[in-house]
């Protein structure tokens, strides 16, 4: 496992572009391009926005750390860590993507997109931290 880059910033929506930029650059330096870059952006936005919205319900807020790594199989891996309340994104049920307009609910769609677009997704809770790993 080799660390390419990392960044720690407060978990607020206005920091989204900074997180994305770091990962886009890391992905580009690993030779990833075109539509795959957009898919990484999308998976990352969905994961981060969940943290921004739900991880730190208190006014004090908290940070998110992003790490870009190359795993032993040569794949780009994005590690997203927060110290907010425990939340396993993989425990969220997939939405019904066949429901019609009247019955359609948006809940769970972001996490569904992450699972569909990434090669694999894993979640660990360790030392009061949520660690989400996306393998591109």
């Amino acid at each position: 496992m080799r660390l390419i880059d990392h960044i720690t910033l407060p978990a607020v929506l206005t920091n989204l572009p900074k997180f994305l930029d770091m990962v886009i650059q890391a992905a580009a330096s690993h030779g990833i391009k075109g539509k795959r870059i957009m898919e990484i952006e999308l998976a990352l936005e969905e994961a981060l926005v969940n943290i921004f919205n739900y991880a730190y319900p208190d006014d004090a807020g908290g940070d998110v750390t992003l790490r870009c790594l190359i795993n032993n199989d040569g794949q780009l891996q994005i590690e997203i860590e927060d110290q907010g309340r425990a939340f396993d994104v993989l425990s969220v049920a997939d939405p019904d993507v066949t429901a019609d307009l009247n019955d359609r609910d948006i809940g769970g769609l972001g996490i569904f997109l992450i699972k569909k677009l990434m090669r694999s997704v894993s979640y660990h809770r360790r030392d009061h931290k949520n660690i989400l790993r996306l393998t591109v």
């Binding site: 929506l13 206005t14 989204l16 572009p17 539509k35 957009m38 898919e39 952006e41 999308l42 936005e45 969905e46 926005v49 921004f52 939405p95 993507v97 066949t98 429901a99 019609d100 307009l101 009247n102 359609r104 948006i106 769609l109 972001g110 569904f112 997109l113 569909k116 677009l117």
Partner: protein, 109 residues
């Protein structure tokens, strides 16, 4: 994200949306679209050819808008999506709840 008014006739209204509809821009997109459909036509066509990116926040806005239009007995059609945007609509099944056309001409029929 930018919404461009491309004109209207008695029945239909053509808009073009460009840039990105993400968690940061979706609230503004939804607000502007709500104002447009408040004095809307029967058919709203959105040219998506210049839209580069959409996330679930943007899909949520489209869902809210589609529901409002349906409640007003109108219809919304989306057209000319770029591949990455189309993929997001397909994965989420949104292409089944909001009509998606290949071209603006096809959508205006």
């Amino acid at each position: 994200m930018q919404i461009i008014d491309k004109g209207m006739d008695n029945e239909s209204h053509l808009l073009a949306v460009s840039g990105r509809i993400d968690a940061m821009s979706a609230p503004e997109f939804e607000k502007q679209m709500s104002e447009i459909i408040d004095h809307g036509k029967q058919l709203l066509v959105i040219d998506m050819s210049q839209l580069e990116y959409i996330s679930s926040a943007g899909l949520r806005s489209f869902l809210v808008i589609a529901k409002k239009i349906k409640a007003a007995s109108g219809q919304m059609k989306l057209c000319a999506m770029q591949d990455p945007v189309k993929e997001v609509f397909e994965i989420s099944g949104f292409d089944a709840i909001i009509p998606v056309c290949k071209t603006v001409t096809e959508a205006m029929v």
